[in-house]
Symmetry: C2
Subunit: 230 residues, 2 copies
């Protein structure tokens, strides 16, 4: 059995959980409060960040990008035409570019500030950065999401999925990041019909179901969060 | 002929230049002042960041991690036992983990603040973020470099190179990041003999020579920057 050390509202953990769901991989989920900087966890990943995937007797694999490569190398061919990466070098570039766009750029500019201010800082002790939310940070993230949604609209208007004509890691990364922001009610869906349509397809996948059932203590989900026809 | 859009003191560009040097690849270097947000460049890489690699008729490949994967997939086997990634899955994880450690974490905590404040802000127009350096930001980076050097000391004391028993992408990433910080005279070498010894090995590689000849307008190199026996 494999193990994923994750945090429920960590978008990178959600990305890996979606990928594992698509691979049909059975995995033990261990919730890691990364801000506790637990020694055994730091030995697995000195960067101290979630997620970390441990594959049976394999080495600990840290971070969404490295886990995605590892899963493709160890399980990718099993998915055949549903593979989340591609064979063709140009398609591989585009899938990796957009996966990083969402896991790195969207995360830094939108998801991380919102989830940190609205969820993490409520549960973290003061010494680890806990405290009331910083509204300036949230305002910047709310402004940033607009250009990201405009870019996504452009992508899904010219292709069936974000990176090419089938679902790939890029879609999982975007959906994982958005799911956390949507939980917080911070996605202006009305202005972005094409993205909403794409997200509804993602939400209806069986791999998505566990994410829609999660709740953060003291922070209720937005009304439409778990609704497949939102 | 391939082309690399780079900026001389961008550590990620330097990482790719070192890799291309190790592959013995002939490449046209085009200096990209990324803060100008040139339209043709944004079409190649909507994130607007250097480096971008264009391989003959291939697609534009953006960013150090994606370029590294692309080069390994298209040229890796030619290097045989000098390959910069590995065959073994556990070694691949460790090489990618440390490559990301330096290209992402060291960059964000040390190299980016120092190079931004001391070089970029001098040459950027005010609208793009130019201006006098922020000493608070530099102070934090100077404090952060100490724990990074301590970690590197631990790595090179237990292995011949950073990730395993031969030179890999991890060494190129670390050396590229350090090279920019060293140019600025911000590496406390005296306290880190083992890292100094490893860096001297890196510096003496032919792939490193072009970097040692570069100068930033108005910011002279530290005394020992180009010295192989520093």
């Amino acid at each position: 059995m494999s193990t994923l050390y994750h945090y429920p509202f960590c978008p990178h953990s959600r990305f890996v959980r979606l990928a594992l769901g698509e691979y049909g991989a059975l995995v033990d989920l261990v919730e890691e409060r990364f801000w506790d900087r637990r020694e055994e966890f730091l030995i697995m990943n000195p960067a101290g960040t979630t997620p970390v995937f441990v594959d049976q007797a394999g080495p600990p694999v840290p971070g969404p990008a490295i886990i995605a490569e590892y899963l493709d190398e160890t399980r990718g061919l099993l998915l055949a035409e549903r593979r989340l990466l591609a064979e063709d070098p140009a398609e591989r570039v585009e899938i990796r570019r957009l996966t990083s766009w969402f896991n790195d750029k969207f995360y830094a500019e939108v998801a991380e500030p919102l989830v940190s201010e609205k969820i993490y800082r409520r549960v973290m002790p003061k010494e680890a950065g806990g405290g009331p939310p910083d509204t300036t940070v949230m305002r910047a993230a709310r402004s940033n999401i607009r250009y990201h949604l405009a870019y996504m609209t452009w992508l899904v208007s010219s292709r069936d999925w974000l990176a090419c004509d089938r679902m790939t890691y890029a879609d999982l990364a975007a959906a994982a990041q958005l799911s956390v922001v949507d939980y917080l009610g911070e996605v202006p869906w009305n202005e972005n019909e094409a993205v909403k349509h794409w997200y509804a397809k993602m939400k209806s996948r069986p791999s998505f179901r566990p994410l829609l059932a999660e709740t953060a203590l003291g922070v209720p989900a937005s009304e439409h969060y778990a609704d497949l026809d939102f």
